[in-house]
Amino acid sequence: MDIFFNLFKYRRIINAAIAVVIVLIIGWIFAYEPVTRNFIAQDAVCNYCHLDWEFNPDIRLTATRPHASEEAPIESQPSCVDCHLPEGWWNTTYAYTHFLSFTDLFGHFRDRDAERAGDWIPPRAATAYRVRDRMFEYDGNTCRTCHIESEIKFKRDRGVNAHKLALEEQKTCIECHNNLVHRPVDVRKDAFKKTDSSKE
C-alpha cells in the first residue's frame, strides 16, 4: 500500500522522469546517426584498427590520396564513414557491429571461412575486392550521398561522354572509379558482373 501511496505521492517526479527518458530516447534516436558518424565512428576510431598510413591522406607515408582535390584543406576531406558507411538510421548500427568485427559496414557478417578459402591473394587485395563488390551491389550509395549524378560538373569531354554511357548502360561509380583514393589494387578480372541476365 505504502508503495502505491508513495508512487502516487511522487507521481510528478515520475512523470517528469518518464518524460525525460522519452525525450532522451527520441533525442538519442535523432542523434544516433549524426553522433555516431561524427563523433563515435571518427577516422581516428577506424584507424585504431586500420593502419593510419594506409588509409589517412594526411599521414606521412600515406598510401591514400586526398579525395576532393589535392589543394583542398584536409578537414574538408570525406571521412572514412562518408565513403564506407551507408546513410540511414539502421545502417548506423553497422558501425558498432563492425567495431566488434561481426560485420562489414554494409551489415554483412564476416565470412571468415570464405576469407581464408581459395588461392592466396594479398589480404589487402582480398579486402579491396570485397569493398568493391559491396559498392557495386549497393550501386555506389555512399558516393551518391555527396555526388548527384546529374549534377556533376566535368572538366573534360571524356567525363561527359563516360557518364552518358554510365546512364545508358546502368554502370555504377566503382566500375570506373576504382582505385579511387587508397593504394592501387588491381581490379580482378570478373569484377562487376551482374548476376542476373539483364546485362546481356
Binding site: 569531354d157 561522354n161 572509379h177 592501387p184
Partner: protein, 447 residues
C-alpha cells in the same frame, strides 16, 4: 617564289625522270594508271573532316592497365574509345605529342593533330578515296633513306625522327610521307569499337618493352615467320590474355583465323616507294603485318653481299647516276626499275656524299594480291597533299577484305608526316563507311 625555285631544280636534270613517270602512269594497267579515279567529279562528293591525332605509346596493353585510369575495365570489356573520347582528338593529340608518360621520345616541333579531309565514292567497279591534308613541312615527303658514299663505302643515310640517331643529331631525319587505311568487315574482335588500337602492342618497334633482335629470332612464331622485329598483330593470334608479342599461336591456328577472315586489311600510299609508280601497297594484319601474296611495288636496293646498291640512276634519263642532299625533296628521287635505273657500277668515280635510294620501286614487277592498289596518285601543292586512290570492289584474294555494294566496313586512318615511321603517325578513331548502306560516312554512288 618557291615554285620558281622548284622549277629550276627540275630543269637541272630531272625532266626526263618526270617524263618517265608520266609515261608510265599513262601507259600501265591496260590504259591509264588512274583509270576511273581520274574521272571522279570530287566536287559532287561530300567532304568529311577527320581529326588525326598523335597516339604516343597508348598500346593495347597500356589501355588495359590501371594506368588508363577509370577506363581500363571498360576497355577490356570492348567499350568504344569514343564512348569517352568523342571529340577529344585535339586535346589528346596535343597532350601526347609533347614529353609525357606515353611519349618518351618527343619530336621537336611536332603538331598534335592533323585535319584530314576525306571523300569516298564508288561505282559498279571500284571504290574511290580522296585524302587531303596539310604537311608540317613546306616540302613534299618524297625522300626516303639512301645509301651514301663516304669516300670508301656505302652507308645507310637518313632515319625516321623517332630514332635516337636522329634525335641525337647524328643522322638527318628522312622518311617518306604516307597515308594508310586499315579495314575490317566485322570479323576482327573489337576493331569496330577500338580500331587500330587492337593492333598496337608493347614490344613493337618504338613501343615499350621492346625485345632484342635475338629474343625475337628465338621465339617460335618469329622463327617460323623469319622476322627480326615485332610489328602490328591481332590479339586473336596470341595465346595469353594480355596478347603478348611472344605468345604466338601455331601456324595452323593462325591459318585457320585467316581462312575465317579474322584479319585486317592495311594499305599504305607512300610518297617515295609507291606514289611515283601510281600505286599503294597492300598488306594485312594478322600475326604480323604481312604483305599480301605476290609482290609489293618496292624492294631493297641493297646488295647484301657487297653492301653496295643493286641499282643506280640511269644517267641518260636522270642526268646523273646518283643524287646529292641538295636534290632531295626538290625532285623525285625514287629509283624505278623500269624507267630510270641501271645496274650499279662500282667502278664509277663516286664522290663523297653521293646518294642512291635504299629501295628499288617497280610497277612492272609488282604482282598478285599485293599489287591490287595500282591506281593511286598523290600531288603535293601549296603545302597540301591530295591523294586519290581507287580500289576494286569484290576482290576475291584470301588476304583482302572485299568491298562490295551494300557493305559496311570499319576504317581506321593514319598519316605519317614529317619524316617518321612506326607509331610516329597521326591516327583516327575507327569509323564506319557504307557503300550503299547506312554508316558514319556514306560513300557517294557515281553513275
Amino acid at each position: 617564289m618557291k615554285s620558281d625555285n622548284r622549277r629550276k631544280k627540275f630543269a637541272f636534270g630531272s625532266l626526263p625522270l618526270i617524263a618517265g613517270i608520266f609515261g608510265i602512269t599513262v601507259t600501265m594497267g591496260g590504259g591509264s594508271a588512274l583509270a576511273g579515279v581520274a574521272d571522279v567529279d570530287w566536287s559532287s562528293v561530300p567532304t568529311k573532316t577527320i581529326k588525326l591525332f598523335w597516339p604516343g605509346q597508348a598500346t593495347y596493353q597500356w589501355l588495359r592497365s590501371p594506368e588508363h585510369k577509370r577506363a581500363n575495365l571498360q576497355t577490356i570489356e570492348g567499350q568504344a574509345c569514343t564512348a569517352c573520347h568523342l571529340n577529344e582528338e585535339e586535346e589528346m593529340g596535343n597532350k601526347l605529342v609533347v614529353e609525357n608518360d606515353l611519349e618518351p621520345m618527343p619530336v621537336e616541333g611536332k603538331n598534335g593533330v592533323i585535319d584530314l579531309k576525306f571523300q569516298v565514292a564508288y561505282d559498279s567497279e571500284d571504290a574511290y578515296f580522296r585524302f587531303q591534308w596539310k604537311t608540317l613541312n613546306d616540302y613534299a615527303g618524297t625522300a626516303h633513306p639512301y645509301l651514301r658514299y663516304n669516300g670508301e663505302e656505302w652507308k645507310a643515310f637518313g632515319y625516321p625522327k623517332l630514332d635516337e640517331v636522329v634525335q641525337d643529331g647524328e643522322q638527318p631525319g628522312i622518311y617518306e610521307d604516307r597515308m594508310s587505311m586499315m579495314i575490317d568487315d566485322g570479323s576482327v574482335e573489337n576493331f569496330a569499337t577500338q580500331g587500330c588500337w587492337v593492333s598496337c602492342h608493347d614490344g613493337q618497334r618504338d613501343n615499350p618493352d621492346r625485345p632484342s633482335k635475338a629474343e625475337v629470332m628465338d621465339n617460335p612464331l618469329f622463327k617460323a615467320l623469319k622476322k627480326k622485329d615485332v610489328r602490328k598483330y591481332l590479339p586473336s593470334t596470341r595465346t595469353d590474355e594480355n596478347a603478348s608479342w611472344d605468345m604466338g599461336k601455331t601456324q595452323e591456328e593462325i591459318a585457320a583465323i585467316k581462312a575465317a577472315g579474322g584479319f585486317l586489311d592495311l594499305m599504305q600510299w607512300r610518297g617515295h616507294r609507291s606514289n611515283p609508280v601510281g600505286m599503294s601497297d597492300d598488306f594485312y594484319v594478322l600475326e604480323y603485318r604481312n604483305s599480301d601474296a605476290g609482290k609489293n611495288p618496292f624492294s631493297s636496293n641493297v646488295n647484301k653481299k657487297t653492301q653496295e646498291p643493286k641499282y643506280m640512276f640511269d644517267e641518260s634519263k636522270v642526268g646523273k647516276k646518283s643524287v646529292r642532299i641538295e636534290d632531295i625533296r626538290k625532285m623525285e628521287t625514287t629509283l624505278i626499275r623500269e624507267t630510270n635505273a641501271v645496274p650499279f657500277d662500282a667502278n664509277v668515280d663516286w664522290k663523297e656524299g653521293d646518294l642512291i635510294p635504299k629501295y628499288l620501286v617497280s610497277r612492272e614487277d609488282s604482282k598478285g594480291s599485293a599489287a591490287d592498289n595500282n591506281r593511286s596518285k598523290g600531288v603535293w601543292k601549296d603545302g597540301v597533299w591530295t591523294v586519290v586512290w581507287a580500289r576494286k570492289l569484290g576482290l576475291t584474294n584470301p588476304d583482302d577484305k572485299a568491298l562490295v555494294e551494300g557493305g559496311v566496313y570499319t576504317f581506321g586512318f593514319a598519316t605519317h608526316d614529317d619524316n617518321i615511321t612506326t607509331r610516329g603517325h597521326h591516327v583516327s578513331f575507327p569509323m564506319t563507311i557504307g557503300f550503299g548502306a547506312k554508316a558514319d560516312i556514306e560513300a557517294t554512288k557515281l553513275d
